[in-house]
Symmetry: D2
Subunit: 338 residues, 4 copies
Amino acid sequence: MIIVLKPGTTDEDVEDVSRRIREMGYRPHVSRGEARTIIGAVGDDRGKERLQALASLECVESVVRILQPFKLASREVHPEDTRIEVDGVIIGGRRIVVMAGPCSVESREQLLAVAQAAKAAGAAFLRGGAFKPRTSPYSFQGLEEEGLRLLAEARKATGLPVVTEVMEPDKVEVVAEHADIIQIGARNVQNFSLLKRVAECGKPVLLKRGMATTTQEWLLSAEYILSGGNPHVILCERGIRTFETSTRYTLDLNAVPVVKKLSHLPVLVDPSHGTGHWEYVAPMARAGLAAGADGLIIEVHNKPEEALSDGPQSLKPERFRRLMEDLRLLARALGREL
Amino acid sequence: MIIVLKPGTTDEDVEDVSRRIREMGYRPHVSRGEARTIIGAVGDDRGKERLQALASLECVESVVRILQPFKLASREVHPEDTRIEVDGVIIGGRRIVVMAGPCSVESREQLLAVAQAAKAAGAAFLRGGAFKPRTSPYSFQGLEEEGLRLLAEARKATGLPVVTEVMEPDKVEVVAEHADIIQIGARNVQNFSLLKRVAECGKPVLLKRGMATTTQEWLLSAEYILSGGNPHVILCERGIRTFETSTRYTLDLNAVPVVKKLSHLPVLVDPSHGTGHWEYVAPMARAGLAAGADGLIIEVHNKPEEALSDGPQSLKPERFRRLMEDLRLLARALGREL
Amino acid sequence: MIIVLKPGTTDEDVEDVSRRIREMGYRPHVSRGEARTIIGAVGDDRGKERLQALASLECVESVVRILQPFKLASREVHPEDTRIEVDGVIIGGRRIVVMAGPCSVESREQLLAVAQAAKAAGAAFLRGGAFKPRTSPYSFQGLEEEGLRLLAEARKATGLPVVTEVMEPDKVEVVAEHADIIQIGARNVQNFSLLKRVAECGKPVLLKRGMATTTQEWLLSAEYILSGGNPHVILCERGIRTFETSTRYTLDLNAVPVVKKLSHLPVLVDPSHGTGHWEYVAPMARAGLAAGADGLIIEVHNKPEEALSDGPQSLKPERFRRLMEDLRLLARALGREL
Amino acid sequence: MIIVLKPGTTDEDVEDVSRRIREMGYRPHVSRGEARTIIGAVGDDRGKERLQALASLECVESVVRILQPFKLASREVHPEDTRIEVDGVIIGGRRIVVMAGPCSVESREQLLAVAQAAKAAGAAFLRGGAFKPRTSPYSFQGLEEEGLRLLAEARKATGLPVVTEVMEPDKVEVVAEHADIIQIGARNVQNFSLLKRVAECGKPVLLKRGMATTTQEWLLSAEYILSGGNPHVILCERGIRTFETSTRYTLDLNAVPVVKKLSHLPVLVDPSHGTGHWEYVAPMARAGLAAGADGLIIEVHNKPEEALSDGPQSLKPERFRRLMEDLRLLARALGREL
């Protein structure tokens, strides 16, 4: 952290700020420029947020962060890529991993039909929501525990490991029983009680970026899970909120190389939620791979026009199959495999 | 909802879409223009989200919403302003209500000192966080239950009713025991499990707008609480995420008249989180009142430069006192009181 | 500027970066922390942008700005408030200045009717567009020179000085002939050729903030005019682009205290463009004053439902008159006058 | 357009609105639902913006657009892809077109060195700025006419046609003399005077998206050029403003499939400005191709650490050469060529 003092600062001010820095456990390093005196605070970074409080002193102009605030999530501390093995499939390796399935688990018939189609097209995981975060209380809220049982059945039928969302701390245990990967949705990326609980459970966690979450905040949410003792974190970009309304969100593929530079964690891309329109899913899935993603999570539904959630952004099985063929060619051109 | 068909749509398409609309429980109303055929879906609004799925049909160009999706929160259904009485204080009436206190409860001394100052200056409520949602796992996480006990003690000492945040469903009961108003923070505005639980508990709820939440989504989150049986919802604008970085968030005062038009619920403004800098708190507090807010929630700390959270945006007691004097004059000019 | 070096930087790297800093005309000041070595660049600030190029060196992690990049616009260089006198009216003084009139000049009858109403209600300036920046080429593009003549006529009839927009360098002269204040619209805030030309003409300039312009960039646009020799710059906040769609733009009133802190220039607020709906104009006009604005610019139209541009956000004369009465009371409570 | 009336609307209101619709040249089509009466306005779309004024009537709740407001730019009117031939190179065809060169023309040596490198690596066009829109008046403003002459010399030396920016109407002629494609920069996307002038000049125009421009507004800016008689418009996505600060802008690749669906015009991607960091240029260039772009525009500089503008985002020639090799493989996997 660098504390920038206002012009006209006295020696007493400099001494006062330096003393406060020392009291917080850091060493001050004073540097006098022509226009400003600045004081660096040297020491262990993890608690440096506290230094922000100095901004409320009259003589302080601003407090500027120099280092990234996360540690365990950072590539600086952990230079090699993290690979997470789930049921024999490695996420974060050379092979691209595709997770596919319906937005919501709606019925036994629906789920099995889509799961078989996903499997046949080459998906490595089955996705499907049993607990659903819905913007309106009048929308379908998910089959809940019954949905988890159907997912387990579909896994048995297809051999595909399952990723599904958990929305509250108390349900982490039951979801962890049925799922191979636990998903934290975009709206819960800063639900810190939930992050602490999934850290304890130890299962791999798919952590979606929130719609207003900076990459720095997102990695700090990952840090909650990592520092809670669970190293199996998979990041997933799914679109941010911007002024543009021709897509449902703005899928921010820039986040892929940014996070790859800052962190060692694997990164997936969700072009279904990111765009909100099935017609844009294929080009943005391709673009996600080309940006360097380790995998994709794609919504597939056998009857999107009757879906209880996210119909407009779901691919029909045949379209998904053709997309997978395109992605296979593309992966090879990028030096990877699918 | 209006379903807009693509150019070149056949009579079969129109009939197919109409049939689907009927199957979902609505009546189709077809209207043929020069460039497009559109079909209105007439009927009960609450489940209309399902019609969005029709956007995945090949012949459909877009599905356009005409009505607001919330009911109980809407002024159309409930034209008069809602007033919520807490311990003799009415929120949403002619009198402006100011809630003040530290971001975090840090210690007995700190809390009592700030509470006395808030009371002396004319605050109607004491705010203070016991459970703290912190971006970094290395930041102070709050005193938790101990913080709740200190808040109860401060209420006893000052007579000020207390507003404090709850972060997870399992803590709703214990927070409701100690608090007069339960706060849902910006990061939990779409934590639907939590919304359902505070609906059940029946206590007044202060529902902050999320940093990427549209006013429509915010009112749908209120609808979760209202439709869950708890009519005591107070809205609070606290800043949204935009490209501008000279303030921590962008306090969106436009939301005050917008929500006042759409809804009957009382609206507060939080200029402390909204701006993130104590120097901007006073002008934006004044502006909040002038925009039509029913009250303010303001962070006050006796030693902001040592605060464990949000020091830069906290007012010292003396500054808060002077601000309250200004606000009193202003309230009168606006035909209200403080 | 502070140049932050990557971990593992060698002495040669430090020397190389220092040499480059010297070659650009600054003095390097090296500071070695535990995690990072940083190098401050000391010297004249105005050209410091060039130092950004050092970010492309392999050993450099980031280049961090410490000082604001504008000089003549800054309060640091020019501590007292700037007051601009136009035809006997002072902008930036104790008295609040209201500019009112139609979005577009449409006809002699329309303009004179609105100008008389604006005058009667207490407006100090007449606004009206002759050259119109319209999103669609099929929309009304303004009466152009004929519009300027009508404005001059309305000034003669009412005694109100005139503010009107210029869109291209070649028209600055003719607009300056007819207008008392030249407006640079939001879409031209970074039309640097135009800024240079209005700097030369010497007339007072109303510089609207762009819809994606940070306060820093906005003040740099003001700096173009100031450094070009024209000290008469009036800033005007008119709404930024955010994800929220219930208002046309998001009027960012935070910008008022932010710019008042950073700069000595007067600041107006435009609640008409900022919200896009006449129902929100009055509350946001009040809020603008309370936030500390020196004045307002408000669209008034005698028949908004037939307006050729911006009908939905225009006030009818009677509503404007009542708003002015409210504002008069409010100004007094704020220690100002109207 | 659909005019939605408020609940409780009378027959007189419906008749009044219908009459006004007829007076503006459209046919009203009334449709009475349970909750709302809506009136469609049928007729020529180009002037429909005027109907927005009806939103200011007391009985009108909202005016909702159903059709896209552009015509000549739309795929509906012009279904086949537009191909633009410049000096034997086709933009918008099967072959991917890469434009490369320095941000600013700085000197003869610099420009020729970069141009040769760009040519050798397979670029099809040379880019370089002679007139530079710079945020600060204290930054290098470009070599202007001298820069144009150097570009012409580089074209002669390498055979690469030239793309360069024009910033004001009066310079269109001289830029058109020296350039093969005229660039309209992001800050001028709604500089309508400039758009009208480049429409007249007839040369191919590279129209960058503004940093706060929706895809709809961008296509309306293209419509200015097309309706002004110049059909040679090439679109270029270059990043929008969002809350995320780890990249300079947020390159919005979603815009590629969105614009490809709505319009027949070719689309390029600028990963240099879009990200602002050379390390992110290669992955986002790849992603741009995979999203369906017809080409890329990339900043290359022989000494980025000494560049007078945009050094941090410029590739060195060797890195550009390697990127071109990757892109060649990728293009083939996408069924295209480079």
